[in-house]
Subunit: 393 residues, 2 copies
């Protein structure tokens, strides 16, 4: 009766959301402090002080016209400031003309895919992946091609990528620091991918675009540097949001930055602006465009995330879990004690621990933990983890 | 290289936006007070005082978690208040479960069409129409079927609608008060359409949904009442925004309300929430959800719009234009003095008058004027209109 595809998707819909609702039920039964919910990446931190002050200042200013439509690309001065920020961070030379302000990264990714894809064109997604990518690609007539990363390091596997590039390959989505693994993709590997793409573009007479989804770029640990996608790839499009760096996920504010080294980058930006309009985003929310332009250098307290990572990671390792140590983001992606990660999720549930099965990220046998939660929940969960592990000894 | 369809659309893209840019050029040459820009529906009014106070209050509250993700459907308490508001205005019985908060009406319409449409299904659009509908339908694999309204009254033509309903008809979009004509669709005609749809549903064994785009529902004149779509149509879905009523177009806040009388309305709401998420809207902006929940009864000063309507309408009539008197919205849709409305647009441009040709709304020979502008611009434009008319005498 309704869209059959959407109805079919409803039943097998997001594991993350399913666990979120499971959590709501458990909290009602056991009380919120007896439930250890690691299922959803909804940062419990408040926005940095500078961001909160900026929201107040702009709201109080009563500046005329501040809630009106602006260009579908966003405010010119905001786009300029975002370009300057990107230039400082990446050593590139973008201008306002390379920036489109968006309703978060999710909005941005849909706009990019709509602007790029012709029916049946392929988009490479590296697993484990953020499951929404598959829907975003399908929304605009594309075909996702899932390519596993290295099963030990979760770094991109260049040979596997090479095997999957065809003359229909339009783009590859890169997500570093990665959700769900927390891995930061290695600069040399990315440079090798760049060479591979250029040689494949020549071979097929096509263009292959790198779409970099970077919401966790500012949440990094231990002095790690996230390689600059704009520097490494000629045909790169960076999509970013302030959901994580500024703890503003509910406000839907982000941007698209198109590499100035891309052929016809001006046409692509026009296409992005058109798609931002006709997909119904129209423009990024006005007030929060102004807020982020004033606070581009702000970021949540990374040390607070590091403390959570270390506490949970060290505990799991001490209990015998195998897990790569995250260099960024706020997720752990340990190996389950049984092959069937859904079964393992059910075991964890019996201890009031909520986790997301790895198959929700296209990677069976693992599970994802989100540690952007109250540290007391992590502390209180430690005995529950021990009890869970005892089941398997 | 990019999406061929999008690139093709760029060249024939929105007349409204094209005129907007033409206006920017003219203002640079002649100065802003010598350019009479009636091209874009970007209200120059500020939000009502209650709305501005609410933005300040919520921004200053520092309530923890107010910028976090919430359910993809929106805050539960906001959805409840919107349902209660709709019930008061329409005499229906919706609950929070029938409401999905959206990024404006444009976002809401895309979500509805994605949730409804299977490939190749048809959506009836009554001309003259808001041109974006055609893109929204195409985004989700639907086929727009344009059905002209009555050429004298711009009321829906029931016989023309009947001729265009097939077993592939999935929906009809209704926009009342109408953009661009300002006409409020007549209650008896709407009831006849409802009977027609029910009989066609029986004939074809299908469901036909009425999607009502109502951003102008609160901007009405002369005591006119806008008939309640939720009361008249069993399978109705109302999409609304606070862009016009609250003068918040840049903030992207609106909602979808699904009729409780629809079969499987719960499934449709689930599908809408899924599409809100996977199309990348994720959720309606958090802060402005809270603002509108506090100010549902607020509205901009309708008298100010009425003053503008009367000034411009009376002047055009006195100059010999033929134009239906708008009962709502903030547009006039007069007949041009020549059949070719683009040629007429060019004549007007020579007098620094910016108008949008009727063919931008699927209706040649007319033009649209947006009067949600500074009343001084309208006053200053009066001699320019006289000069324009003299050309045709």
């Amino acid at each position: 009766m309704f869209s059959q595809k959407v109805i079919d998707s409803l039943s097998k819909s997001s594991w993350i959301r399913a666990m979120f609702e499971e959590g709501e039920n458990l909290r009602k039964i056991y009380g919120p402090d007896k439930v250890y919910d690691f299922s959803i990446g909804n940062p419990e931190m408040e926005p940095p002080l500078a961001v909160r002050e900026s929201i107040k200042k702009i709201s109080l200013s009563d500046e005329p016209g501040q809630h009106r439509y602006m260009s579908n690309a966003g405010y010119q001065d905001v786009r300029e400031k975002v370009a300057q920020y990107i230039n400082r961070e990446n050593g590139v030379s973008l201008t306002a003309q390379h920036i489109v302000m968006t309703c978060g990264a999710a909005g941005g990714l849909n706009v990019v895919l709509k602007a790029l894809l012709n029916p049946g064109e392929e988009v490479i997604v590296l697993s484990p992946y953020f499951v929404e990518y598959l829907y975003y690609i399908d929304n605009h007539g594309g075909v996702p091609v899932v390519v596993p990363t290295d099963s030990e390091t979760f770094q991109p596997d260049i040979e596997a990528i090479e095997r999957n590039i065809t003359n229909r390959t339009k783009a590859i989505i890169i997500n570093t620091p990665n959700n769900p693994t927390g891995v930061v993709y290695n600069e040399t590997i990315l440079k090798n991918i760049s060479e591979l793409l250029e040689s494949k573009e020549k071979e097929f007479g096509t263009s292959i675009y790198v779409i970099s989804d970077e919401p966790y770029a500012k949440i990094i640990y231990d002095g790690v540097k996230v390689p600059s996608i704009l520097k490494i790839f000629k045909n790169s499009i960076v999509v970013n949001s302030f959901s994580k760096s500024h703890a503003l996920p509910g406000e839907r504010i982000g941007y698209i930055a198109v590499s100035s080294t891309m052929d016809n980058c001006g046409t692509l930006v026009n296409a992005l602006v058109f798609c931002n309009r006709t997909l119904g985003f129209v423009n990024a929310p006005a007030l929060f465009q102004k807020v982020i332009a004033e606070t581009l250098n702000a970021a949540v307290d990374i040390d607070a995330y590091k403390k959570r990572r270390d506490l949970l990671y060290n505990h799991l390792i001490s209990l015998g879990f195998s897990c790569i140590k995250p260099e960024g983001g706020f997720y752990l992606f340990p190996k389950a004690f049984v092959d069937d990660d859904v079964e393992f999720k059910n075991h964890a549930l019996k201890h009031n621990i909520l986790i997301v099965p790895g198959q929700g990220f296209g990677w069976k046998g693992h599970f994802r933990l989100s540690y952007c939660i109250d540290i007391k929940v992590i502390e209180n969960s430690l005995p529950a983890w021990e009890a869970l592990v005892r089941e398997f000894k």
